[in-house]
Point group: C2
Chain length 167, copies 2
């Protein structure tokens, strides 16, 4: 995508998805343009992975902050909702790819209406168990889960899995 | 438990469980005595939670190290296996408490025989899906999952849940 088209795409969209790598998210959103993003729902599926020391990666931000919160602070007029970062891309858009879709997905965000918009999108994609973790700070949990996901991928030999919250 | 009895209990045990709070684990194991622990399997179910700033807690160690690895380095003759730290205590010993026991548990450790011993114990307790994540460094993933677990507990209003790895 040419740099100009980030801004064009963001400007005409109703909902913007940040599916960039975590280390490049801030740059990409800056290029998209704060004015083009203002007021829109930003579905943030990125993970702040640091591959500079090899595999498994460490996290660029964690525990007392999250990439989702950094994005929200940098773009206060955007309505950031963290979701889908806890599974491989194929399952984001086709949860039926494993277990007949009988697994869970999380949403975190400060704007209830934005979370409803994202939840509706997730349900349209086939997600049946959408768990609202709370405000955007709960994205710290969803982002810090990814190191476990990476070890599971290593143990299972495939990224085609997801967790179901059994209760 | 009197301080003396930590050492007495460790000395006569075949398998030792570290179920202390993460901030006190190293002290408790030091009191148990390196000589009493040497050669034994240490099932480490602790989590390095820092409640000094309130709830939710942050982590005392994370990402590029773990409490399990700190314990292993401090007690090199002990065979540390991380497991069960990803669920509430009631489900550790009675996984049938939710979902008919249809959920998952992880093991991490450097000693294959020690992991088999723990896996056998887990199966005796009713755990049916024991996932071997690999060496003890994979405990970083299991420990960093706990912040998500804490947010789920908040969202669900109960600690009586666990994750099933659907694949």
């Amino acid at each position: 995508m040419r740099l100009e088209s980030f801004a064009e795409a963001a400007g005409s969209a109703e909902l913007v998805v940040n599916a960039t790598g975590g280390e490049g998210s801030m740059d990409a959103l800056t290029q998209a343009g704060e004015a083009n993003l203002a007021g829109k729902v930003l579905l943030d599926v990125s993970n702040p992975l640091d591959f500079s020391q090899g595999f498994p990666p460490s996290l660029l931000v964690k525990d007392t902050d999250s990439l989702a919160e950094q994005i929200q602070r940098a773009f206060p007029a955007v309505r950031v909702v963290k979701s889908l970062n806890t599974m491989t891309a194929a399952l984001m858009v086709d949860p039926g790819g494993v277990g007949g879709g009988d697994h869970s997905v999380f949403v975190s965000g400060d704007d209830p209406e934005a979370k409803r918009t994202v939840t509706s999108l997730l349900e349209q994609l086939g997600h049946r168990d959408v768990i609202d973790l709370g405000d955007l700070s709960t994205a710290r949990g969803a982002e810090m889960y990814v190191p476990l996901w990476l070890r599971m991928m290593g143990a299972l030999g495939t990224p085609m899995f997801n967790i179901k919250v059994v209760r």
